[in-house]
C-alpha cells in the first residue's frame, strides 16, 4: 500500500505531426512512421535546414470561430484541441461537477508560448514600420495563455499556471500536477504542454546552434546528425486512482514517481550525472526498483552528445538491469516539439502501457557503440510494460523524469 494518494491517467489528447488525435498518432507510432517532412510554414529558400515535424492539413478556421482565433495563438489552439480530446476521453464534465472543478489544476507548459504572435508584432513594427501593434498581441503571446484559455473553456478553477523549462517543460508540468494530487493539493488536473514556434526566426536561430539534422532524426543510431524541430500539444487528465476506480473510468496507467534535478553545468551540453540523479529520484519516489522498469521513452533528441550521454546515465542508474530495458525515442517520429515534447511522449508512453506495444526508434540505420542498449530499431515490439520512464533532459541542464506504472 502506498502511503500517499495514488494518481491515475484517465484521459489523453494530442495533436502533432503524426495526426490530429491520439488514434491517428498512435497508429503512426505503432507503424514506425515519421511525421518529418519539408517545412511549409517557412519559405524554404530562406532556410538551410528545410525539414520539420509540422502539424499537417491543419485549418484553424475549421476548428475555431473568428472570435476565438483573434485570441488564440497557434500554440493555444493546439493546447485546447488536445485538452478537449483528453476531457472527452476521461468522460468528466467539470461544468456539471462544480466542486471537482474547484479542485482541478491546469498546468500547461510551453517553451516559448505564442511565438508566431510575437514574431508578427515584431515584423509589423520593426520591419513594416506600422504605427501600432494589434491590441490582442499580449493576451495571445503570453506563455500562460494556454493555461488560462483551458481553465476558462472547461470551468477549471483550481491552481492554474504555466511552467517553462525548455525541452523538459511538459514533464515539469505533468510532474507538478502529479505531485499536487499525490499530496492532496488538487483533486484532479489537466496537464501537459503545447508548442508552435516553427517560423523563420526560430528556424534560423536553431540552425545557428548547429544541433539540427538536415536529413532526418535518427536517435541512438550511427550517423545521427541531430534533432528535428516539431510542434504540437499533449494534455493528460490526472485524478486520484481511487476516484477513477469509483467512477469506473478507463485507466491508462498510474503516474507513480517524479524525479528532478539540475546539471548546474552548461547551457547546452548535457551531463550524465544530472540525468542519473533525476532517474534515481524517480525510482525512489515511485518505490520501483531498476528491475521493475521495462521501457524508457528517452529524451533521445538525435544529437551525438545527448544520446550518448543519456545512455551513459541510464547505465549508471540501472546497472545490469539496463541490458533488458527497451529504450526508444519517439522524437524520431513526432520530432522535437520542445516545450511540448514530454507531453507527446507521455501520451506515447501511456498508450504503450495500455496496448503492450513499445513504439520503435524510427529512421535507425546501424548501431553506435556509444548507444548500445536495446533501442527497438524501426519496428514496434509487442511487450508487456509493467513500468516505464519518460525522460526529459533539457538545454540548460533542467532534468525531469516521470515514472509510469501499469495498474
Amino acid at each position: 500500500m502506498a502511503d500517499h494518494i495514488r494518481v491515475a491517467v484517465t484521459g489523453i489528447g494530442s495533436i502533432s505531426s503524426l495526426g490530429h488525435n491520439v488514434g491517428e498518432i498512435w497508429a503512426a507510432l505503432e507503424a514506425g512512421r515519421t511525421g518529418i517532412a519539408p517545412l511549409t510554414q517557412v519559405p524554404l529558400e530562406q532556410i538551410n535546414i528545410k525539414i520539420g515535424a509540422e502539424v499537417k492539413n491543419y485549418d484553424e478556421t475549421k476548428r475555431f470561430d473568428d472570435r476565438e482565433l483573434l485570441v488564440y495563438d497557434r500554440y493555444t489552439q493546439f493546447a485546447l484541441l488536445a485538452a478537449r480530446e483528453a476531457m472527452a476521453d476521461a468522460g468528466i464534465d467539470f461544468k456539471k461537477d462544480e466542486a471537482l472543478g474547484l479542485e482541478t489544476a491546469v498546468i500547461v507548459a510551453s517553451g516559448v508560448g505564442g511565438w508566431s504572435t510575437i514574431d508578427q508584432a515584431f515584423y509589423s513594427l520593426h520591419k513594416l514600420g506600422k504605427p501600432r501593434a494589434h491590441p490582442l498581441t499580449i493576451p495571445r503571446m503570453m506563455i500562460s495563455a494556454a493555461a488560462s484559455q483551458i481553465s476558462m473553456k472547461f470551468g477549471l478553477k483550481g491552481p492554474a499556471f504555466c511552467v517553462s523549462s525548455a525541452c523538459s517543460s511538459s514533464n515539469h508540468a505533468l510532474g507538478e500536477a502529479y505531485w499536487m494530487i499525490r499530496t492532496g493539493r488538487a483533486r484532479a488536473a489537466l496537464a501537459g504542454g503545447s508548442e508552435a514556434e516553427i517560423s523563420l526566426t526560430s528556424q534560423r536561430s536553431w540552425e545557428s546552434l548547429r544541433v539540427m539534422a538536415s536529413d532526418t532524426c535518427r536517435p541512438f543510431s550511427k550517423d545521427r546528425k541531430g534533432m528535428v524541430i516539431g510542434e504540437g500539444a499533449g494534455i493528460l487528465v490526472l485524478e486520484r486512482l481511487d476516484d477513477a476506480r469509483k467512477r469506473g473510468a478507463k485507466i491508462y496507467c498510474e503516474i507513480a514517481g517524479y524525479g528532478l534535478s539540475a546539471d548546474a553545468g552548461d547551457i547546452v551540453m548535457p551531463d550524465a550525472d544530472g540525468a542519473a540523479r533525476a532517474m534515481r529520484q524517480a525510482l525512489q519516489t515511485s518505490g520501483l526498483a531498476p528491475g521493475d522498469i521495462d521501457y524508457i521513452n528517452a529524451h533521445g533528441t538525435g544529437t551525438q552528445l545527448n544520446d550518448a550521454t543519456e545512455v551513459k546515465a541510464i547505465k549508471a542508474v540501472f546497472g545490469e538491469a539496463a541490458k533488458r530495458l527497451m529504450v526508444t525515442s519517439t522524437k524520431s517520429m513526432h520530432g522535437h516539439a520542445l516545450g511540448a515534447a514530454s507531453a507527446l511522449e507521455a501520451v506515447a508512453t501511456a498508450k504503450a502501457i495500455e496496448q503492450s506495444v513499445v513504439p520503435p526508434t524510427a529512421n535507425y540505420v546501424a548501431p553506435d557503440p556509444d548507444c548500445d542498449l536495446d533501442h527497438v530499431p524501426n519496428t514496434a515490439r509487442r511487450a508487456k510494460i509493467r513500468a516505464a520512464f519518460s525522460n526529459s533532459l533539457a538545454f540548460g541542464g533542467l532534468n525531469a523524469v516521470l515514472a509510469f506504472k501499469a495498474v
Partner: protein, 86 residues
C-alpha cells in the same frame, strides 16, 4: 472625410467588433448600454485608429466617451487636428 462618412465608418467598426446589430446603433446610443466587453473595446479603438490613422489618447480627460456621438465628435477632432498639422 465628411461627418457622415466618419459616423458610418465608426458604426461599422463597433457593429463588427462588438457583434451588435448595425441597425440598432444611433448617435444617442450609450456605450454603457451597449455592454461592450473590454477586449472588444480595445479592438474598436484599434479599428478606429487604423481606419482614420489617428491616435486615440488614453489619458486625455477632455476625451470623454459616453455616447456614440461623443465617439464621432472625438474622432472628428482627431482627424481635423491631423489635417491641420499635415
Amino acid at each position: 472625410m465628411t461627418e457622415e462618412e466618419i459616423r458610418e465608418k465608426i458604426f461599422d467598426i463597433i457593429a463588427k467588433e462588438a457583434r451588435i446589430d448595425r441597425g440598432t446603433l444611433t448617435l444617442e446610443s450609450k456605450l454603457e448600454d451597449l455592454k461592450i466587453e473590454s477586449l472588444d473595446m480595445v479592438q474598436i479603438l484599434f479599428g478606429i485608429e487604423d481606419a482614420f490613422d489617428v491616435y486615440v489618447p488614453q489619458d486625455d480627460q477632455s476625451f470623454k466617451l459616453a455616447t456614440l456621438k461623443d465617439v464621432v465628435d472625438g474622432v472628428k477632432r482627431l482627424v481635423a487636428a491631423k489635417q491641420q498639422s499635415a
